[in-house]
């Protein structure tokens, strides 16, 4: 491992700027034309931004690759010394609030308690893009650090002028600029109160601004608890589903009984007679709003009873994988390496099936919408505040300046809340009711109408020479995407393709996107090739692996797990398996032990090594990695969306069994810190080795290859 630390240069993110193929079909609401004059929104009731003109300038300015390069758009220094740091990223449990606090505190040289993060209010914060793609750490953290470092330098300049000393004699510590010689100090608050501050803070920051080298980190690299943790344990934190606005009603929307069903007729008269109930009808959009959620449910039931629908035949999950293959765009691509296959010692071809999965975040999607004059404010749980603002502007034909989206820290997403359905629906109901409306989806709506993690067919074909070396590799993912599509192994003739299909269900992002499907297929297939080559699965992989970071985690996991001894042990009902992978700049390997109880596969032990460059918040990283592993065992072993003729059948936690306490395996998780490497995101990748390691362990125990997710013995 290299001992060289970066010297204050901002290291480039390991992952390229992600070109997000979202695979998402947006729900296109359009509620008619409404032209009014342009009015600027400033965040009423919120902490004042240092300079309103700076914010207005920022809106007109073209965004740099790391967001605004103007200090005032990102930082506000309060007269009390509290420094507000603004970001368009959200907090949904993944730890952004703590991490950004650390980044700012480190560069400003202030205690973390002096930082107040202002997140995800489109009226006040810069647009840092969607919170997804493991992008906060490699992109937003540097952006915050640069601005904070620039502010620190301004403080030093200010102190130097005030004290009449060279700036080289000033250090900043605990929020104060100190001149050692004279023991004079001056703080950020003093700077903020000065005449120069307003002008200084509107400057564009220098591209040469120096951030703190990793070796000198005091706040970054150390675990910081979530800043609003106390409000979580006391129940004081207001999630979007907790918010109440004056005069607020509770809303519900009429849903079709199945996909593709069209509303023919509905009778809303009974609902209208219920006290306090408002009915909103806009062609096929039918909703109610009532003073209590209980009454809103009753009102909606009264409407739903009368609704007549025109249904068309829809696909069912038992024919899902044939359906996806049949509808593959352009058909199945042929293997371009026919010559390698022809001369190979051995060839192998397999097909892997991965079912739809559901994120099922514990807080369902919810929005509170309120109209004031022609201004719309929506509080909602979404990963994409500015994207949702865009959806609202389009749905209601409003200029951006009249729409404000606020995202309080909310109850999780896992990639499932990129879009603003609840926001648009709540806004439409609020518009019709003339009162604020809180619309919260039911769990059944979540399981039916939220977008899913795409199902996939993955086909792989490879050839081996007489020495067990791979000579060709052809990999096709149908329907689910290109995350972790490419193999990390050395194979001369190598081609991977993602082929879209016609998905029967609405799908989109999910933690690690298609990486779970692609890595499941790839790492299962690698195991099959190892057997064909007569080599141990670890040996086979290492023989084809140059990437030092991936080798490091693989070897460490194998060593910690005792792979070479355990793989030789044969046991009637226990098996071991391994898998490795890399995605979005992080690297991991997992060795697992499973136990078979009758036909049930139980995950008993997971040894995972995870490496994402310089670790910013170790405790948070551990929670994210362990959380991803446990979450991953759901789709690996049990979670599967079943549907028949367009009707989802798994609409409850009863029928869609997510991981619980009793599923907890022994966890031996090692976070491999690489302070010499740029910090990469880590919220997703840790999920991608669970399923293939389990499948490989099942083979080790039973000799059976299960080539589908969820991995079930009755499917062999």
């Amino acid at each position: 491992m290299s001992e060289q630390y970066s010297t204050g240069e901002i290291a480039q993110p390991m992952a390229e700027e992600i070109d997000y193929t979202e695979l998402l079909e947006p729900v296109g609401y359009d509620f008619g034309l409404n032209r009014r004059s342009f009015v600027q929104i400033l965040g009423a009731g919120l902490l004042l931004v240092a300079s309103a003109p700076a914010l207005a300038q920022e809106r007109g300015r073209r965004r740099g690759p790391r967001g605004p390069q103007n200090i005032a758009a990102r930082l506000h220094i309060g007269k009390d010394g509290i420094i507000a740091v603004m970001t368009g990223k959200v907090e949904a449990g993944q730890g952004a609030r703590a991490e950004f606090t650390q980044a700012a505190a480190e560069e400003l040289r202030v205690p973390a308690a002096q930082i107040q993060m202002l997140m995800a209010d489109t009226a006040v914060v810069p647009d840092d893009g969607i919170t997804a793609g493991s992008g906060s750490t490699p992109r937003t953290v540097p952006a915050i650090r640069e601005v904070a470092a620039a502010a620190r330098e301004l403080l030093i300049d200010f102190a130097a002028r005030q004290f009449g000393v060279p700036r080289s004699e000033i250090t900043v510590k605990d929020g104060k600029a100190i001149h050692a010689g004279s023991e004079k100090t001056i703080g950020y608050a003093d700077f903020a109160a000065s005449e120069e501050a307003t002008k200084d803070l509107q400057q564009t920051i220098s591209p040469d601004v120096e951030v703190t080298p990793v070796a000198e980190w005091k706040v970054m690299g150390v675990s910081l608890g979530r800043p609003n943790a106390r409000e979580i344990v006391t129940g004081a934190h207001q999630y979007p589903s907790d918010l109440v606005r004056p005069g607020m009603l509770y809303g519900k929307v009429l849903r079709a009984p199945a996909f593709g069903a069209k509303l023919i007729s509905v009778d809303v008269s009974a609902a209208k007679t219920m006290p306090g109930v408002v009915v909103i009808q806009d062609s096929e959009f039918v909703g109610v709003a009532a003073p209590t959620r209980f009454r809103a449910e009753a009102a909606l039931d009264a409407v739903a009873k009368t609704a007549k629908w025109d249904r068309t035949p829809q696909p069912s999950s038992d024919k899902l994988f044939e359906y996806l293959k049949e509808h593959a765009e352009g058909g199945m691509p042929a293997n371009p390496f026919a010559d390698e296959l022809a001369k190979a010692a051995k060839t192998l071809r397999q097909s892997y099936h991965v079912a739809y999965a559901q994120h099922s975040p514990l807080e369902p999607r919810v929005a509170v919408a309120e109209w004031n004059d022609e201004h719309l404010s929506v509080w909602t749980g979404t990963q994409n505040p500015f994207g949702v603002r865009g959806e609202l502007t389009r749905a209601f034909h409003l200029p951006e300046e009249r729409v404000r989206v606020v995202v309080p820290d909310f109850g999780a997403a896992y990639g499932g809340k990129h879009t603003g359905e609840a926001a648009v629906e709540a806004a439409r109901l609020a518009q019709g009711a003339g009162k604020p409306v809180s619309l919260r989806w039911t769990r059944e709506e979540e399981f039916t109408w939220a977008y899913f993690r795409p199902a996939a067919v993955v086909e792989i074909e490879a050839s081996l020479d007489a020495h067990g070396k791979m000579t060709s590799w052809h990999f096709i993912n149908i329907n689910s995407g290109n995350a972790a599509l490419n193999t990390p192994y050395n194979i001369g003739s190598n081609r991977a393709q993602y082929v879209p299909s016609q998905p029967p269900l609405r799908h989109g992002s999910y933690r690690a996107l298609a990486a779970t499907a692609n890595n499941f297929a790839r790492e299962s297939f690698m195991d099959e090739l190892a057997v064909a080559a007569g080599l141990d699965p670890l040996e086979f992989r290492l023989a084809h692996l140059d990437n030092p970071r991936l080798r490091a985690v693989l070897q460490m996991a194998a060593e910690k797990f005792g792979w070479s001894g355990r793989v030789k042990k044969k046991s009637a009902n226990r098996g071991v398996g391994l898998a490795c992978g890399t995605e979005k700049g992080s690297y991991l390997a997992a060795c697992v032990e499973i136990e078979l109880e009758k036909n049930q596969i139980r995950l008993r032990h997971v040894c995972e090594v995870f490496e994402c460059g310089a670790i910013v918040n170790p405790d948070n990283l551990r929670k994210q990695v362990e959380g991803a592993i446990i979450m991953g065992l759901g789709p690996a072993l049990r979670e599967e969306v079943r549907f028949e003729n367009g009707e989802i059948q798994t609409v409850s936690f009863r029928t869609y069994p997510v991981p619980r306490y009793e599923d907890l395996p022994e966890l031996d998780v090692h976070l491999l810190n690489r302070p010499d490497l740029a910090s990469a995101g880590a919220g997703e990748t840790a999920i991608m080795c669970v399923a293939p390691a389990i499948a490989n362990a099942v083979f080790h125990a039973t000799g059976k290859r299960i080539r589908q997710m969820p991995i079930r013995l009755d499917a062999a």
């Binding site: 949904a92 449990g93 993944q94 730890g95 675990s223 608890g225 979530r226 943790a229 106390r230 979580i232 344990v233 006391t234 129940g235 004081a236 934190h237 207001q238 999630y239 589903s241 907790d242 109440v244 509770y250 209590t292 959620r293 209980f294 099922s360 975040p361 514990l362 807080e363 369902p364 820290d409 909310f410 109850g411 999780a412 896992y414 919260r440 039911t442 769990r443 405790d619 948070n620 929670k623 994210q624 362990e626 959380g627 991803a628 592993i629 446990i630 979450m631 409850s652 936690f653 009863r654 997510v658 991981p659 619980r660 306490y661 009793e662 907890l664 966890l667």
Partner: protein, 159 residues
């Protein structure tokens, strides 16, 4: 047909006039502004809505207000003593035992009930009794640690 219900919540007597079939969860959240208990599933499968009724852990989303009439309810808001957190809250806070935190209030209430019945729980005790609580962020390992920590702390304070 609305009816009158009187019950004790966090030590205070409260009266509500509402439909007898309305869930206790809705009454707590909408009538009493106690939004700590959360909606996760509406069918008692996730326990984000957990409150204590007469000291026992119940799913308030499937407990009707009629069933709560004349009973004693304790919610997350009633645990702390002014600024002083309940040992379970303090343990969860010290361990940082949550990620998005949406299940946490229910988890804490479930733990309070658990520790009343089993002050010295083993991992197996905790797993079997807390298994009805879902955490989608899968913070289960940290929760286990926090629950042990709370149990240890409570034992120390009792001595």
């Amino acid at each position: 047909m609305d009816a009158t219900f009187t019950f004790t919540v966090n030590g205070k007597s409260r009266t509500v006039i509402t439909d007898p079939g309305r869930p206790l969860l809705d009454v707590l959240r909408e009538e009493l502004q106690l939004t700590g208990a959360k909606f996760g599933c509406g069918e008692g499968q996730c326990r984000a809505c957990t409150v204590l009724m007469n000291g026992k852990s119940v799913a308030s989303c499937i407990t009707s207000i009629a069933d709560a009439d004349k009973q004693t309810i304790l919610t997350i808001e009633g645990l702390a003593n002014g600024e002083r957190l309940h040992p379970v809250q303090q343990a969860f806070l010290d361990e940082g035992a949550f990620q998005c935190g949406y299940c946490t209030a229910g988890m804490i209430m479930g733990t309070v009930a658990l520790l009343k019945e089993v002050p010295n729980p083993t991992d197996a005790d905790i797993i079997s009794r807390m298994n009805r609580h879902i955490c989608r962020c899968c913070s289960y390992p940290k929760y286990l640690q926090a629950i042990h920590r709370a149990a240890d702390q409570a034992r120390k304070e009792a001595v």
